[in-house]
């Protein structure tokens, strides 16, 4: 099983969820994060003090998928999240040793 971690633009969340929903992936975990990258932030001014804010709001999706679904899931995410503009984000893929569903105790692909 693989864990897909995708950092995307917040307003793309619904599109991405729909896209992977179509594949039959039933679970996603979402975290609000701040991203620092090539995309430039903005300047904020509070009375005399000027701050460059280069941490931009991003959304991190984590989804565990079976090895077979991996490519389709990646494709779906890329398709749905891409705007073509800088800051679209990154996807990381790593290997999971195991997955357990707490409710039933099922493990492995069963638990997804």
């Amino acid at each position: 099983m693989k864990l897909i971690t995708a950092i995307i633009k917040p307003f793309k969340l619904d599109d991405v969820r729909d896209a992977i929903g179509e594949l039959g992936v039933l679970g996603i975990t979402v975290t609000e994060v701040k991203g620092f990258g090539r995309q430039r932030g903005h300047t904020e001014l509070y009375r005399g003090a000027e701050y460059v804010v280069d941490f931009l709001p991003k959304v991190k999706l984590e989804l565990a998928v079976s090895d077979e679904l991996l490519d389709q899931a990646l494709e779906a995410i890329i398709r749905a999240a891409r705007t073509g503009k800088i800051g679209d984000g990154k996807i990381f893929v790593s290997t999971l040793d195991d997955v357990i569903r707490i409710r039933t105790g099922e493990t492995g692909a069963q638990a997804l």
């Binding site: 307003f11 619904d14 903005h42 300047t43 904020e44 001014l45 509070y46 804010v53």
Partner: protein, 459 residues
């Protein structure tokens, strides 16, 4: 009030609103105290009241833009009111606009006095000036809700100044300008006085505290603005829930509290009628909040905080034109009806026509204002617990006809809708041509706060 013609000379001799000749003894400090209190309350109602009510309803990335639009509009219009607004609205001119007597507040001193609705009772004109200023300031601020979350800040300011000048000021003059009760010494003088009043006043339309001037006026400008601005990016697809409902609730509560200044202050005197206006304002609002949220409960399954707050505002709007003419039971009826009709407007009407009136300025203020203005004619009737209309010539309540008054009210509603609609179309078109109305799609997505104001609301 009947309208007959009178030689212009005589009309000009009547001291409109202000009567220096009267001795200061006619001014009661209790009235002044209440008028000043009311003025402070109307400010509280706008900043922070309205600002929070609106600010809580938008997404967190746009809350500062809304607060700023309300706050600075308030400031800019206050100055415009001192420079020319007051003069053009509240001095004698023609039936549509006033004169130049008070430009830059000239001649307005601590001695100047203004008429109330009782013969021989005056208030300091300066108090009247600043009380009316707060009405002039809040009205354009109301419009902000209709096109929230997408307009350029400069476009907002320029449009609202334009609209204030060409719609608020003349409509205020048309509805509220008159010679004051002391001018109605006998039938002939009364006719002369009537002839110099504003156009809608002459039609006999009743608007105690601004159903037409404030709410229908701004509501129409909001609707036109929502259409001109177009829908927000993602409207109808992405969820756009209020980012902070406790803030909405604080705002609604302060609107309610401040509205006692708005409505009761409009009585200009601290007397028994003031207390009745207070009671009406309270009861109509309570009824409308109950009506809206119970209707949601029945039809949608849960009574919502946003519904209760919206209902309260709908009730406040609807009782505004009526509050000095109806009895408490009439006020309750108006509240219930307005609560239900505004709910319908906000859910059905908006969905049907698909315009994106972000914070329902049209659905609450215009619809509520129309409902209130028309029901004023009904519940003003002494047979339904209302006060009827006072005839200052006869010094008694005049015979009352609901039908006749309804026609008068329709004049007020109709003229205001047309006038404000036309001015709004012109204003938005002009601003669109000169400055452009909307921010870029990118800025809209990121939020107006960081891009238009260089700040984040919460860190």
């Amino acid at each position: 009030m009947k309208t007959r013609t009178l030689p212009l000379v005589a009309a000009l001799l009547l001291a409109p609103l202000t009567a220096m000749a009267e001795t200061a003894a006619a001014v009661d400090k209790g009235d002044t105290a209440w008028l000043l209190t009311s003025t402070a309350l109307v400010i509280l109602m706008t900043i922070p009241g309205l600002a929070l009510f609106y600010g809580g309803m938008v997404r967190s990335k746009n809350v500062l833009s809304v607060l700023m639009q309300v706050f600075l509009t308030f400031c800019v219009i206050a100055i415009a009111w001192a420079v020319y607004g007051y003069s053009l609205a509240f001095t004698a001119g023609n039936a549509f606009v006033g004169g130049a007597d008070r430009l830059f507040m000239s001649g307005l001193t601590v001695e100047s006095i203004a008429a109330t609705f009782s013969k021989g009772v005056y208030v300091p004109e300066m108090a009247y000036f600043v009380f009316q200023l707060t009405f002039a300031c809040i009205t354009p601020c109301l419009i902000v809700g209709a096109f929230a979350e997408r307009l350029k800040f400069s476009a907002v300011l320029v449009f609202l100044l334009f609209w204030f000048t060409f719609s608020y000021v003349p409509v205020a003059h048309m509805v509220w300008f008159w010679a004051g009760p002391d001018a109605y010494t006998d039938a002939e003088a009364g006719a002369a006085a009537g002839a110099m009043a504003g156009f809608i006043f002459q039609k006999g339309a009743l608007d105690f505290a601004g159903g037409t001037v404030v709410h229908i006026n701004s509501g129409i400008a909001g609707l036109v603005g929502a259409i001109f601005a177009g829908r927000r990016v993602g409207y109808g697809r992405a969820p756009m829930p209020p980012h902070n409902l406790p803030m909405v609730m604080i705002g609604a509560s302060l609107l309610w509290v401040g509205w006692f200044g708005f409505n009761v202050g409009s009585n200009l005197e601290a007397n028994g009628l003031a207390a009745q206006v207070f009671a009406n304002t309270l009861l109509a609002t309570a009824s409308a909040a109950v009506a809206w949220s119970f209707a949601e409960w029945i039809w949608r399954g849960t009574p919502t905080v946003l519904g209760a707050a919206s209902g309260a505002v709908a009730g406040l709007v609807a009782i505004t034109p009526a509050c000095g003419w109806v009895g408490p039971m009439g006020a309750i009826a108006i509240g219930v009806i307005a609560g239900l009709l505004c709910l319908a407007a906000v859910t059905k009407l908006k969905a049907r026509f698909g315009y994106d009136d972000s914070l329902d300025v049209f659905g609450v203020h215009c619809v509520g204002g129309i409902v209130g203005s028309l029901l004023t004619a009904v519940f003003c009737s002494p047979s339904l617990g209302g006060t009827g209309v006072y005839d200052y010539v006869a010094n008694a309540v005049a015979p009352y006809s609901i039908g006749g008054q309804l026609v008068a009210q329709l004049w007020g509603v109709g003229v205001t809708i047309l006038w404000s609609g036309a001015v709004s179309v012109a204003g938005y078109a002009l601003v669109r041509a000169l400055i452009g109305l909307r921010v870029s799609e990118d800025e809209e997505r990121e939020g107006l706060d960081t891009r238009s104001h260089g700040e984040s609301a919460y860190t």
